[in-house]
């Protein structure tokens, strides 16, 4: 699936080859994969932890906007998910 097919109705999930977890020693979410690790910044971590295969990108955006008392995050979330799909961190259903 290409990033072109991502819409607000897509349901992203962490790809099965990766594991997302919170690392308190690094004060960050990380993506773990064979013999490697990607340390995520706050917004990347907040988006990815909501990618459970159930929530749509619209749901994720609404949840983020509520948690951080802000609006207009939709484009940013879509762009990030597209990048995450490109890197195979995330698969969209």
């Amino acid at each position: 699936m290409t990033s072109n097919s991502i819409s607000i109705a897509s349901r992203p999930a962490i790809d099965r080859r990766f594991r997302l977890q919170w690392e308190s020693a690094q004060n960050a979410h990380v993506l773990l994969y064979p013999e490697g690790m990607i340390k995520l910044n706050t917004s990347a971590g907040e988006i990815l932890k909501r990618c459970d295969g159930q929530a749509t990108i619209a749901d994720i955006t609404a949840s983020l906007e509520q948690s951080f008392s802000t609006g207009g995050l939709s484009d940013e979330v879509i762009a990030f998910i597209a990048m995450a799909v490109e890197n195979k961190w995330v698969a969209v259903l």
């Binding site: 594991r19 308190s24 020693a25 064979p34 013999e35």
Partner: protein, 379 residues
């Protein structure tokens, strides 16, 4: 002034060398040549305690290696505890001893990843690839790895005697449905150091192997990621070994010694702490051995005033020691090192005519890693 150096981050990468026991006898092994004289292995409870202490410090990637880690019958227990603690658990194995019972138990215990290495399991180096027995074993193990839904990651150590077979190696990897293949040129520590003259490829061999790899990458077909790790003797700048000693990496040897890199146990003048005597926190933050090569106060010229020191940290301490006799020297792979000729001479020797190819009887035979040879070398 090391005490004033910035407090190091967590030991993110923890490597357990669970045992020096191994069913194979690879002449390129980096394990110490005196392994047969090294004291008893840690018991299960020691490993589990070290896991808990390291995880509390922030360790997150765990490598289980050896020797052959499957030689430990408590491997499944160690994996289960590591998984429970939140480690990402990598098994680095020859596959010898990996049957369906064990892989099912390892999967259930939470093992995340298996790296299957290829090596010569016999003393007939020329049979490296044609050995039907090896291929059958690897095929079976590869099928199990697939069946249990692990990515197929192959590691092949290259050296003078097999590097000309890179095309066949890649075809074999393709046949095994590998997703990743690491073609890792031998690094010269331990047994490989002892056998360096026999294992060092010529520059022409390295270039041919790189060209073959490039062609294979460009072929049409099933995607397979291939990493070709160039032997550092052929480079002009050193590798940023371990990202600097004591920065992210911690190895525990079978007998419990904590090391800032797998090969460091050879470094003279450092007393490496044992996990039987000291907590991981003390080892990582307070021990002299782990602090010694942090920062750059230990550096000599030309590294000390070099603008590249923050990129490569002066290269590999073990290589500096092995080649120059002083671990604080620049890694002689660097062409700014006054000892660089030691590297170019070794390569030049590899480029010249070789007794191993020109005469049936060689003066210095390849010494295979075995308990008997280990005893003999140190008797």
């Amino acid at each position: 002034m090391n005490v004033q150096a910035k407090k190091p981050g967590p030991p993110l990468w923890l490597l357990f060398e669970l045992t020096y026991r191994c069913p194979l006898h690879c002449a390129f092994c980096y394990n110490p040549t005196n392994f047969s004289g090294i004291g008893p292995e840690l018991d299960t409870d020691d490993w589990l305690r070290v896991l808990r202490e390291a995880r509390a410090l922030g360790a997150v990637q765990l490598g289980l290696s050896g020797g052959e880690p499957l030689a430990r019958d408590d491997l499944e227990i160690i994996v289960a505890e590591a998984h429970r603690l939140g480690f990402y658990v990598n098994l680095i194995t020859s596959g010898v001893g990996l049957n369906e019972t064990r892989i099912a138990a390892l999967k259930a215990a939470g093992l995340d990843h298996i790296q299957l290495s290829f090596q010569d399991s016999s003393q007939q180096m020329n049979d490296f690839l044609s050995s039907t027995r090896t291929f059958d074993l690897k095929s079976k193990v590869a099928a199990l790895i697939k069946k249990y839904d692990y990515p197929m990651v192959l590691n092949v150590v290259l050296h003078r005697l097999n590097i000309d077979h890179v095309a066949e190696i890649l075809q074999m990897a393709d046949k095994l449905d590998a997703e990743y293949v690491e073609l890792a040129n031998t690094q010269y520590y331990g047994w490989a150091w002892h056998n360096r003259a026999q294992l060092m490829p010529s520059r022409a061999q390295v270039e041919r192997a790189e060209a073959v790899t490039k062609r294979f990458r460009e072929r049409n077909g099933r995607p397979m990621r291939i990493y070709f790790v160039v032997p550092d003797y052929f480079e002009r700048r050193p590798k940023p070994c371990m990202n600097g000693l004591g920065s992210v990496f911690l190895t525990v040897t079978p007998d419990g010694m904590a090391l800032p890199c797998q090969a460091a146990r050879m470094l003279p003048g450092l007393e490496f702490p044992n996990v039987r005597d000291m907590s991981m926190e003390n080892i990582w933050f307070d021990s002299a051995a782990f602090n010694h090569y942090r920062g750059d106060d230990w550096m000599k010229e030309p590294c000390r005033s070099c603008p590249e020191k923050s990129r490569d940290f002066g290269g590999c301490r073990c290589q500096a020691y092995l080649l120059t006799g002083d671990a604080a020297n620049a890694d002689p792979v660097c062409d700014l090192s006054p000892h660089h000729h030691l590297v170019t001479e070794a390569v030049a020797l590899a480029d010249g005519p070789r007794p191993i190819e020109s005469a049936p009887v060689v003066e210095k035979p390849l010494v295979f890693r075995s308990p008997a040879n280990s005893v003999r070398l140190f008797s």
